[in-house]
């Protein structure tokens, strides 16, 4: 078993928030067409400080504090992209992306198709997502499945600082619209980030990453659940269970090749996300795995995730969110077949 937590030095350790900031900075340096826009991204540097210092260094024309309206943010970003810019929009919290839903679903996602490929919209929509930070309503949502159902969008989630640093740059240089989910409760997690190394060498943005190799069960996760699942694998190993942990990274398109290969090897699969299980991405994965690995599965694909409720008040959110114990519990159930 290899764990990414192994062999780290303190040197070059960055928080996810800072790593994303460095990634944005690099992208802006490399390409004058890259813009950052959203609410409070300027002087404040964003409520999570992901855009900290960028306005100071790149000016108000490249780092734009917008009026307070999400449809306007995405809609004008589309216009800027039509003019040759590469806007990176920040949606302040997951729950506030819905006013922009129409622009994302009916315009951003479809313009390339509508124009028979004459128009590409290299727009990135950054969304801090997920719970676990003790917030009030609308600040802990996990709406990624809603976007993964929409053809024309790429939907990705980063899981740690090193990946955040590379993936945000890849998203910006991608000619397709990318919905970029950032696990907000992991913003202050630190890992090594190689700022010197180019992103050319980094894993492609649409490829899943096997974080822990194992033989008994495949654990699929992304975003905030990556750390939880790696911890679960460590804990399970003590009980003699060998879990393979895969960070999906790209939720649309899915890297089914990596997923199927793993499940064919382990014979068991558990999908974990914070989003409600009902209607979540786990369903899509379960359906595909069940079909493609039908003769390999020793247990049905199981899912761990939020319940079929609105996100609850924060004092009980720990019961809503899958944690180490809940993940292990579902893994145990997979062994019960």
């Amino acid at each position: 078993m290899t764990s990414p937590a192994a062999g780290k030095q303190n040197a070059g350790k960055l928080t996810l928030s800072r790593a994303l900031n460095e990634g944005l900075r690099k992208a802006m340096e490399n390409d004058p067409k890259v813009l950052v826009m959203g609410e409070d991204v300027g002087r404040l540097g964003g409520v999570f400080r992901v855009t900290d210092g960028l306005q100071k260094d790149f000016g108000e024309d490249r780092v734009i504090d917008t009026p307070l309206a999400e449809s306007g943010i995405v809609g004008t970003a589309i216009g800027l992209a039509l003019r040759g810019y590469r806007p990176v929009c920040e949606i302040q919290f997951d729950g506030f992306v819905f006013p922009a839903f129409d622009q994302i679903v009916s315009q951003l996602a479809k313009m390339s198709y509508r124009s028979a490929g004459h128009v590409r919209l290299p727009v990135v929509v950054r969304i801090p997502f997920g719970g676990g930070i003790g917030a009030v309503e609308h600040h802990s949502e996990s709406p990624e499945a809603l976007f993964a159902h929409i053809a024309g969008l790429r939907v990705v989630a980063c899981g740690d600082p090193a990946d955040g640093y590379a993936m945000i740059q890849q998203a910006i240089s991608c000619d397709d619209p990318v919905i970029f989910f950032e696990p907000k409760r992991r913003y202050w997690d630190k890992t090594d980030v190689d700022l010197a190394g180019g992103v050319a060498a980094a894993l492609p943005i649409d490829t899943a990453r096997t974080l822990v190799t194992g033989t008994d069960v495949t654990l699929l996760c992304y975003g905030p659940m990556v750390r939880t699942c790696v911890e679960a694998a460590v804990a399970a190993q003590e009980e003699g269970k060998s879990i393979e942990v895969i960070d999906l990274r790209s939720l649309s398109p899915l890297d089914t090749e990596t997923i199927f290969a793993s499940v064919r090897k382990t014979g068991r699969c558990v999908v974990v996300h914070e989003a409600a299980v009902t209607g979540g991405i786990g369903g899509e994965i379960a359906a595909r795995v069940s079909q493609e690995c039908f003769y390999h599965l020793e247990a049905p694909v199981l899912r761990a995730g939020g319940y079929t409720t609105p996100y609850p008040p924060s004092r009980i959110e720990d019961h809503y969110l899958p944690d180490l114990d809940r993940v292990l519990d579902v893994v145990d159930r997979a062994f019960g077949y």
Binding site: G75, L82, R83, R114, P253
Partner: protein, 382 residues
């Protein structure tokens, strides 16, 4: 039941603000074909320029007629007629420079014509052969947008791009965006007003107030003249006679030049009328009176130009027959183009969704290909 009628004005004593002035309509050519002057909008056109406008008007009306006929014959799925709105579209369309960018709705066939887009491309969309599919950069004419109001934000963002490119100034560039009276109720349109105002973006909001949003009359969208909306956002609003091609040209020209020179956005309300059905599937007799239509017939945008040309002696009968013949030719040409349009290859469904190929889509494409060829082989086997 105490619901008050819409459009009822607030009692003046409550308005801590001067009451809006009575609507002023900029007009440079009367329905009778007489030239009017307006101090703010001097307009000098050569006879050739006026004839060119007339030709545009005739040709776009003809394109529209042909498309309606094609729809009736089952060759198009639907058509949104511009009948009655030719002057608003040609006047504004001809006010644009080649580097300006226009963002249309689904009804701007006249603007498309002025920008140089082949009308057959429009037919493709309404036939169901494509969702548009033209290159917006080829003629600086964006794709048709069907979701009401969405394009106003695109135009505003594009205009912010013009600012960032440093392309303002006397020779600068600007964007123009088209939308209807109904669209003014959409959040997006109002957000576009805010963005444009706050960023002082070089964008002209061109609202064709054709009095109807499908079956809903104007009073379902506003209780004051629409051009006053701009006052609430801090930029100028102007109402122009939308059936007067001269006035539409002059007003749009000025607003575009102001935008190019960094003076920010303008809202133009082109006061006009949708003479036909909303689309070919609509039946306006269900919701509006023919008297209204009759009264607007007297304000026809083409007839007044013709009268002016005749009275001023600028054009002879031969000119009119010439244009008419040209219109027939255009009609024949686009009909032919429509009838010859092949259905798309079913497998093209998977094209152009992403810049990079996607494994999943390639798989699905292969699946559909195999499925389709299974029928071919079945047939072959018979």
């Amino acid at each position: 039941m105490a619901v008050k009628a819409a459009g009822q004005a607030a009692s003046p004593s409550r308005s801590h603000d001067e009451p809006p002035p009575t609507p002023q309509l900029i007009q440079l050519l009367t329905p009778e074909g007489e030239r009017a002057e307006h101090p703010d909008y001097p307009l000098d056109l050569t006879p050739d320029e006026i004839k060119a406008l007339y030709r545009d008007l005739i040709l776009v009306r003809r394109i529209d007629f042909e498309a309606i006929a094609l729809q009736r014959q089952g060759e198009l799925g639907i058509w949104a007629s511009l009948l009655g709105q030719e002057a608003a579209q040609v006047g504004s369309g001809r006010a644009l420079g080649p580097r300006d960018m226009a963002f249309p709705t689904y009804r701007e066939h006249g603007v498309a014509w002025c920008r140089g887009l082949d009308p057959a491309k429009l037919l493709e969309l309404f036939r169901g052969v494509s969702h548009g599919g033209w290159d917006p950069k080829a003629h600086n004419f964006h794709l048709y947008t069907i979701v009401i109001g969405a394009q106003t934000l695109h135009a505003t963002g594009y205009a912010m791009g013009i600012q960032r490119d440093g392309a303002l100034g006397e020779d600068g560039e600007a964007a123009i965006v088209y939308f209807g009276d109904g669209a003014t109720s959409q959040g997006d349109v109002n957000e576009a007003f805010i963005w444009a105002s706050v960023t002082n973006a070089p964008v002209v909001f061109f609202c064709q107030n054709n009095q109807w949003a499908i079956s809903e009359p104007l009073d379902r969208q506003t209780r004051i003249p629409l051009y006053h909306r701009a006052r609430g956002f801090g930029f100028p609003g102007i109402r122009v006679d939308g059936n007067d091609v001269f006035a539409c040209l002059a007003v749009t020209r000025q607003a575009m030049q102001a935008a190019r020179e960094g003076q920010g956005p303008t809202l133009i309300e082109a006061f006009t009328y949708r003479m036909g059905a909303h689309t070919t599937t609509d039946d306006p007799t269900r919701y509006r009176l023919s008297a209204e239509l009759e009264s607007w017939k007297l304000k026809d945008p083409i007839e007044r130009v013709k009268q002016y040309l005749i009275r001023s002696g600028m054009a002879q009968e031969s000119f009119f027959t010439g244009v008419s013949a040209e219109a027939d030719e255009v009609g024949i040409r686009i009909r032919k183009a429509c009838l010859e349009m092949p259905d798309p290859d079913p497998l093209s469904m998977f094209d152009h969704i992403y810049a990079e190929p996607s494994g999943l889509l390639e798989e699905e494409r292969a699946q559909l290909a195999a499925y389709l060829s299974s029928f071919v082989s079945e047939e072959a086997a018979r």
